[in-house]
């Protein structure tokens, strides 16, 4: 069951400040009073996170619609 194609392009991106590759890490996302821990590629030094386009316009948009609808 392929659920990690979300981040196949994560390796293309590096943190510009720290010049290190990104690592998967738990980050909290919040919307409309709901907080949720998710695994996202993140710079281990400064904490900058990577969200690929597909994730933003796909899953995240669907969750946002769902939360707005309830």
């Amino acid at each position: 069951m392929s659920r990690q194609p979300d981040f196949e392009d994560a390796s293309d991106w590096k943190c510009a400040k720290c010049a290190v590759p990104l690592e998967m890490h738990e980050v909290e996302v919040a919307y409309m009073g709901s907080k949720y821990p998710v695994a996202l590629p993140r710079c281990p030094r400064c904490g900058i996170v990577f969200i690929p386009e597909q994730l933003a316009v796909g899953k995240m948009a669907e969750i946002e619609r769902l939360l707005e609808d309830k």
Partner: protein
């Protein structure tokens, strides 16, 4: 009926029995409208006293900010003694949700700012704000925007939308304000439109689903109420409340706002069939404040520097941006922040930068290359969810 529901809610809130979910969203929206990113209180440029204070209300600001600008320009031009501008939410949602303590707090906050500005006469574009201040700020002089326009006269002749007939929809909170209702009708008459008086209008007017936060507490009932109202006439509706206009438009019913007709633009045209987009409303309020400070008060802020950033956008990306409702100014703010702080990602192969920033209620992501002279935009996307990142410097 509204008073009965409100009293019941007050009791439920006091007893801790009110489930928070029902009104939470509306209250969060209200708090956003009263946050630093949105609020503004200024005397007319070049003055330090205000005889009048234009209070457009959070809904008009979030729905047609261009009308707020035009109206402010009109009032500044017509009235003497200084017309100040205040961008804020009066607190009506808190009242509707039965949160008495919050209401008191908001009224106190407003009163403090208002007295500091010289206790100017309030010019209110929204009937709900009017009702709220009438109830909670008895010491203030209130005027509805429509009474002012009726008295001062229409702006110079503009090409108005050609309409055979409009049916006037009075907002629920104007129910007992006959002077306002009359002013509206006189303005419409002066504009030369033929009107239809719906059987249920004026004091018998029907709800659009927003008053009392029905839309949030019982969506199904609100939908029914909207559908019922728009079916009452084949004619276009004419509202003078931004939310009424938005609710009816979202269901596909051509609904004008009185300011469309007064200024001869067709802002409401673009809203037909568009669902209510709360994040976009918040974005518009933030942009309105930025626009006012930049263009009207010419204030030099960090954010305003962003507007000088030159962007090069291909047609393809332009199309994406339009589809995703991302503006140049959103990209500029991301790039400004990223370049200033160095917080961005860099692509191994292409050397492009990818940065993100949340100026208001939406996080924008931009893939770009270039430098201070000019940045080329390769991609842009956004999301409303907030990333609780905890960046380390």
């Amino acid at each position: 009926m509204g008073d009965v529901c409100k009293a019941a809610r007050g009791i439920m809130v006091e007893q801790g029995k009110m489930p928070p979910s029902a009104h939470e969203f509306a209250l969060q929206d209200m708090m956003f409208s009263n946050s630093d990113k949105v609020t503004l209180a200024r005397h007319q440029p070049g003055t330090n006293a205000s005889a009048y204070l234009f209070f457009p209300g959070c809904q008009l600001s979030g729905s047609s900010p261009e009308h707020v600008m035009k109206t402010y320009a009109y009032l500044s031009d017509r009235l003497q003694g200084g017309v100040g501008l205040m961008l804020r939410c009066c607190g009506a949602p808190a009242e509707w949700a039965g949160r008495e303590e919050t209401v008191s707090q908001l009224v106190d906050e407003f009163r403090a700012q208002w007295s500091q500005m010289g206790s100017p006469q309030l010019i209110l574009a929204c009937s709900s704000c009017y009702a709220f201040f009438k109830a909670h700020l008895p010491e203030a002089e209130l005027m509805s925007l429509w009474e002012v326009i009726d008295r001062e006269g229409l702006p110079s002749a503009v090409a108005k939308p050609q309409l055979p007939l409009v049916a006037i929809h009075d907002p629920c909170t104007s129910r007992h304000e006959t002077r306002i209702q009359e002013s509206v009708r006189r303005i419409v008459g002066k504009l030369g439109y033929e009107t239809e008086e719906l059987p249920l209008s004026r004091d018998k007017t029907e709800c659009c689903g927003f008053g009392g936060l029905m839309f949030f507490a019982n969506r199904e009932l609100a939908e029914k109420v909207i559908r019922r109202r728009i079916a009452e006439t084949p004619a276009d509706l004419l509202a003078y409340c931004a939310v009424c206009r938005d609710h009816f438009s979202s269901r596909g019913k051509p609904t004008w706002h009185l300011l469309d007709l007064i200024f001869g633009d067709a802002v409401s045209r673009n809203l037909i069939g568009r669902p209510i987009d709360y994040s976009l409303r918040r974005e518009k309020r933030v942009r309105l404040k930025n626009l006012c400070l930049r263009e009207v008060w010419c204030e030099d802020r960090v954010e305003s520097e962003a507007y000088h950033i030159h962007l090069s956008v291909s047609e393809k990306v332009r199309g994406l941006m339009e589809q995703r409702m991302i503006l140049d100014e959103d990209l500029q703010q991301v790039i400004q922040w990223a370049e200033r702080t160095g917080n961005k990602l860099v692509n191994q192969e292409t050397g492009h930068s990818l940065a993100h920033y949340r100026p208001g209620a939406v996080t924008y992501w931009v893939e770009y290359s270039g430098e201070e002279g000019g940045f080329t935009i390769h991609n842009a996307y956004s999301h409303r969810m907030e990333l609780l990142e905890e960046l380390k410097p």
